[in-house]
Each structure stands twice: as C-alpha cells, then as structure tokens.
Symmetry: C2
Subunit: 236 residues, 2 copies
DNA sequence: CAGCATCCGCTTTGATACTG
DNA sequence: CAGTATCAAAGCGGATGCTG
C-alpha cells in the first residue's frame, strides 16, 4: 500500500482504496453482503490469489472490512464491510455513473457476473409508483445465477438469488440487460437483441432509469472549461 | 494502463482512472483549471516526471483531458479537462467525503498545496444567507499562494489567487484551516491553534460546513451489515 | 526553462503451484 | 476452502539527459 503523503482528503482516500482491485473487492461485498474467500475470488476474475489475501488484510487493517468467524455449521470465515466500508458506496456509485457510457464499447470477451447488476439496479432504477403493491422481478443474465429485484414503498432493492413467486422474469444476454437498465436500450430494441420478458409487463413500466445518461452524449464543443481571466486569478 | 476486462461500469471507470496518480491529476485540473506541465508536476509532489507524461497521454487518449496549444505570447501547452473529465468531479467529491476523517490522523510531514483547499471549500461550504451581498474571503495557508473564496447568490466558489478587496482574510497553518472547513474544529479552538481572522467576521458565519462529518464518528457497533436471510437468498 | 525520454534499482502484480 | 510460496514481468520512483 504505497501512500501519496499529501494532506488532502482525496489522496488519503486513495491511500486506502486506490490500489488495484481494492474498490472492486468493496463492490463485491456491497453487492453480495458477506462473502467467503472463494466467493470473492470468483467475483474478481483475474485477481491473483495472493493479491486477494493481501488486499483483504489491508482492508481489514484500515477498518473497511471485517472478518467474521462463522459459527460451526458453516465452518468458514465471512468477509463483511464495516460501516466505514459501506460508506464507500457513494464512491462506487459515482464511478459507476461515470463508467456507464464506457460499457457501450466494451469488448465481447469481457467477463461478467450477475451480481454486477445489483448496484446499477439500485442506483439507476426508481419506482415510479411508490403507492403500488410490492413487486418482484427475477433477472436471468446469460446462464448466471439469478438476481432478485424487489420494489416496495418506493424503494428498489436487488440481491443475489431467485424468487419463488416473481411477477416478472427477465432473461437475456448480459449486455442487453445492462443496456436496458442504463437506459441505453429501449425495450423494443432489447427484445430484438434477445431480451425475453415473461409475466406481468406492467411492473416493468414501474421501474425506469432515473439518472439521465446524458453525459454519455456530451460533446467536446459544449461546456469547455472556460479560462477564468478575472482580476486576481494569478498567483501572488 | 492495465485493464480489468470486466463488463461492469465501475471496473470500466477504474480502467481509465484507476491507475496511480490519475485521479490526482484530475484533482489538480479541477482545482486550478488549465495547467502547464510544470504546474501539474508541482501540484503532485512525488510523481515521477515520466509517469506524469505517461498519464497525460493516457488521459488525453481517453478523452478526459485536452492539450491546448497556447497562443504565441504564452508559448506553452495547457492541459485542460474535457467535459468528460469535468464529469469526474462527483467521483473526487465522494472520495473526499470518505477520506476527510483520515486527515485528522495525518502525519505532519505530509505535503500540502493551497489549491488542495479549493475542492473541499466548494463541496463542504454552503452560503447560509443566499440573499446577502456578495462576499469575498482570502485564505492564506502556511506560506502558500492565497486562495480566493467568493460567495454570491447562494453559491460558493473558490479559486487560486489573491483578492484586492477581501471582506475577510483567514491565515494560519493548513491543518487548522482544513479542520475548520471540514467542521472538525470550531473557531475558538482554531484561534488557539493559530488561525488568524482579519476583517468582517460576520461573513464567516455565512459560510458553514453543510455536509455532516458524522461518518467520522461512526462506530463498529452501529449499522452492521445485516445478514439477509430471507427466502431465496441462496444462489440457484 | 518547459516538456518530455532514458536508464536503473526497487516494488507490485499476475500466473501458477503448493499446503493445512 | 483458504490461503501461502515462488517467480517472471510489468509498473513505479528517482535521477539524469536531451531538445526546443
């Protein structure tokens, strides 16, 4: 963990979470809750085992995660975020917003895990009918384990796992599902691209992308950083 | 620029800005606007010159910054953020919020540059009297170049540079000034720690920390990530 | 001097193999 | 399952040199 040695809040944050893989470990724990070592290793394709062990040590030392010695029936350790770790969620959310447009040009060989849908779902989707009845949607991306979306009282929650009584089941290639979630793909186009919708389509209309992906289209011509030539701008 | 190869917006963002120093380069450009190579090198103590050149190339290629060939009178290139680069501000803001509490235990040997006050000022301070007259404050930290704060119509802006007619001048050690901005230090304590206030103290009352630094005091006992044992949580 | 490029010693990373 | 051990390759930090 190399430090910057700067008296700056952003640099201090990067001292803790700026190393390679570190924020992605937090992403996994935010998405899935408590994880075993093996779960993390699977959710972080490409990470070396020793690096994962190193990072977990560093994060524990920094007070971001916490090692739960699970009771005898499970007989394994679970890694969980501390409140301080959960507080990193806005950082991941901001990164996700900024990175969203980059997915459009992602190569097909990219790895994918269905739990990577969870944070985008919770950040991007809003319930348009807070007064409506609770609704449950199951998302099946590729042949990955399903994700459950539940909306009630205006809140949208997502978690790994299937549903025994889903109002709606969405299936399809992960790119299509992510495209719909991010508002880059309308449902007609998505259906053409392989999205299958089974069940009560009305609940789908309730959940619509809230955050404008407008910055995806931003051009160099707009909003160019204007030189601030007001008097007194020069350094003393 | 090593990539993660994951179809995930956060991972894609980190592919671009996850390398060491990259986000701090963006911080400098957000704080100061257009910068020369040398300005950046000075604002990033510890960076190797070749690394700075590499990163600038990568960021330009990624569409985050933009090389302005300044007109003959200046005879130098200025690096500026593109709109896509400016859109990284929420990422830096979230990191700053999370990292703020870490400043309390920062070592005294840490480097400091007065422009590192600019983003915290704009993120943390709110004008309590939006209807009041425009006010101008000059901040002098250590013996660094001054920073100007201007508030008008409810907005708080900060920029490098002095003021010819400041309503108020704050001087003192950088740790004290940052402590006041972050709300970690009240004015009495700050005065004892070396803060000097010259001018109309009333304008100081207008600007108060808006964001609660409550998470600085969060304890492990509170809000522990609850296991979600609802039916259907297990993977299929 | 501004804006790099080159070289060098060191650390970190990634891939694989191995162990309790 | 949950790591540790090993090692080649890449990245980093520091110094120095080159070019306009």
């Amino acid at each position: 963990m190399r430090r910057y040695g700067q008296y700056c809040a952003m640099a201090k944050a990067l001292d803790v979470v700026g190393d390679r893989w570190t924020l992605l470990i937090v992403r996994e724990l935010l998405s899935r809750g408590g994880c075993r070592y093996t779960d993390l290793h699977d959710g972080l394709p490409g990470i070396a085992s020793n690096l994962l062990a190193d990072r977990l040590r560093d994060l524990e030392q920094a007070g971001v995660i916490w090692r739960e010695a699970a009771p005898p029936p499970i007989a394994t350790t679970l890694y969980r975020l501390t409140p301080r770790g959960i507080a990193l969620r806005p950082v991941l959310a901001a990164l996700g917003h900024w990175g969203g447009p980059l997915l459009a040009e992602a190569p097909d060989e990219d790895e994918f895990r269905s739990q990577w849908l969870i944070l985008p779902i919770e950040e991007l989707l809003r319930d348009r009918c807070p007064d409506g009845p609770p609704a449950a949607i199951e998302v099946r991306a590729d042949d990955q384990p399903p994700i459950a979306i539940e909306t009630r009282d205006g809140h949208v929650r997502a978690r790994p796992g299937g549903l025994t009584a889903a109002d709606l089941v969405l299936s399809g290639p992960h790119r299509v599902i992510m495209g719909v979630l991010a508002g880059r793909l309308d449902l007609t186009r998505a259906a053409n691209a392989g999205l299958t919708v089974a069940g009560d389509r009305a609940v789908l209309a309730r959940l619509q992308p809230a955050a404008s992906p407008a910055d995806a289209r931003v051009t160099h011509e707009e909003t160019v950083d204007k030189p601030r030539t007001a008097a007194g701008t020069d350094r003393a």
